[in-house]
Amino acid sequence: MSPDTTSVVELNDLTKRYGDVQALRGITLRIAAGEIVAMLGPNGAGKTTSLSLMLGLRRPSSGDVRLFGLPPTDRRARSRAGVMLQESGAPGVLTVRELIALFASYYPAPLPVEQALAMAGLEDKAAARVATLSGGQRQRLYFALAVGGNPEALFLDEPTVGMDIEARRAFVAGIQALAGAGKSVIFTTHYLREAEELATRIVVIDRGVVIADATPRALMARVAGKRVSFTVAEPLPADAFAGLVISALDVSDGRVRFLTSEPETALRRLFARGVEPRDLEVAGADLEEAVLSLTRRPEGA
């Protein structure tokens, strides 16, 4: 197989169990070269586990993982992947430049160290020892280490956590530059905004399964766009919401709240069923809320 036709990542019905916890319940995913994929989901959804399995950092309980068509622990596969993990450490007594140069030596065709420094916005800190970096600078260093090997694909686990605004901006520019150069980027995030801004494809994971896999535009069209809330004086009929396309329904203290992409239809049906909404509000749901509605089971489904 030539590199062009090989998928960057192939996950086949992957499951992962940690003791009693079923972290992944059967994930099948194929990522082609050049895709910028955001793995989106709440904490504990299985994003980091999926990434760890893709990279061979953990072994699946069942299912098959391929990285560039090879087992992910194969050195030939790893030589094509740059990685940025949460919670990894770095040898503190080396300088930023030394550590980037060291990592570059692990890869067959690395970037010049200066270029990796520039992409991470770390030029000023090149001579500083790693131990002296702030949290945000350290995060940039990990980004520099991931891109320094000039890999075909980047795997970034929650890359912007701990970044200040400036670092985040540099990071976004870096990703866009990499995308422009035809690299694949796979990153996890729980910020929809970040996924929408950077990704060509968003994979939403919740409780160990993929619940949506689409372009940002298609996903946005699917998620419930409006938040409806009103008060009711009388108890609701039992089947008041039957058949309505709504999600995240919450009824408490006489106040009803739900998300929907068709507020007019939903309200018309409710009126027809004798519900008399008072103090009605219809507002644009914020995006986080909207995608979260995807990650919960839709009501009545």
Binding site: R58, R76, A90, V93, E98, S105, G149
Partner: protein, 255 residues
Amino acid sequence: MTAPLLGMLGAQTMAELRARWRVAAFSVTSLVLPVVFFTFFGLPYASQTFPDGVSVGAYLLVSFAAYGVGNVMVYGFGIGVANERGMKVDLLMRATPLPPAVAVLAKVLVALAFALVSIVVLIVFGVVVGGIRQDLAVWLQVIARLLAGSMPFVALGFAIGYTAGPHAAPALANLIYLPLSFASGLFLPVSQLPGFVQKIAPYLPSYHYGQLAWSAVGARAEPLAVSLAWLAGYTVVFLAIAMRAYRREETRKFA
């Protein structure tokens, strides 16, 4: 396509060397401590000779050289590996194409370099300050034997590094290595140790390590093959302990 392993090894070795050198406390301790001990315990007897004509000064000098090399290995690997685990550097390295064997080999090369320097510093000190005289060939023999025989202490260091956390590792290394050195006659000749220690000594790795050095300066010692067999045996035992601890951690962190 992958990067050449030799290039990786070179870069990794340089980085280890830098990192090791910059932890001044460690590099100074490992070079100076044997000299300090020799000054107190060896220098006063430097000009004496044993009844069989062997120089007491040379005997004690190579004893402390053996102590020094073991020290570099046990502390260097014990504390170094425990620290890397504590700081989660192992996690960072794991995702790269760097083969673990190359990383380990780089550490061993750097430790051997430090050990070499520690022996040379001690010998120069003994020759210049203590007036101890041996043929150059004898000194070279001592250096070669001590470096080649140091593998059980490398393995012991790894065993400590994978068993103990970064805070416990220095204490554990001390607790194991210091009594081991004393009881094996590296500080005082075995004949001057308490009776029960004399009985234990022949079963200790550092005792057989000492034999390598003592026989090099002409002292009566067990056959070389016996020393090497003991050292090889202990290397296997310590490596097995290290591998077990390593595997246990692999399962915990990465399974």
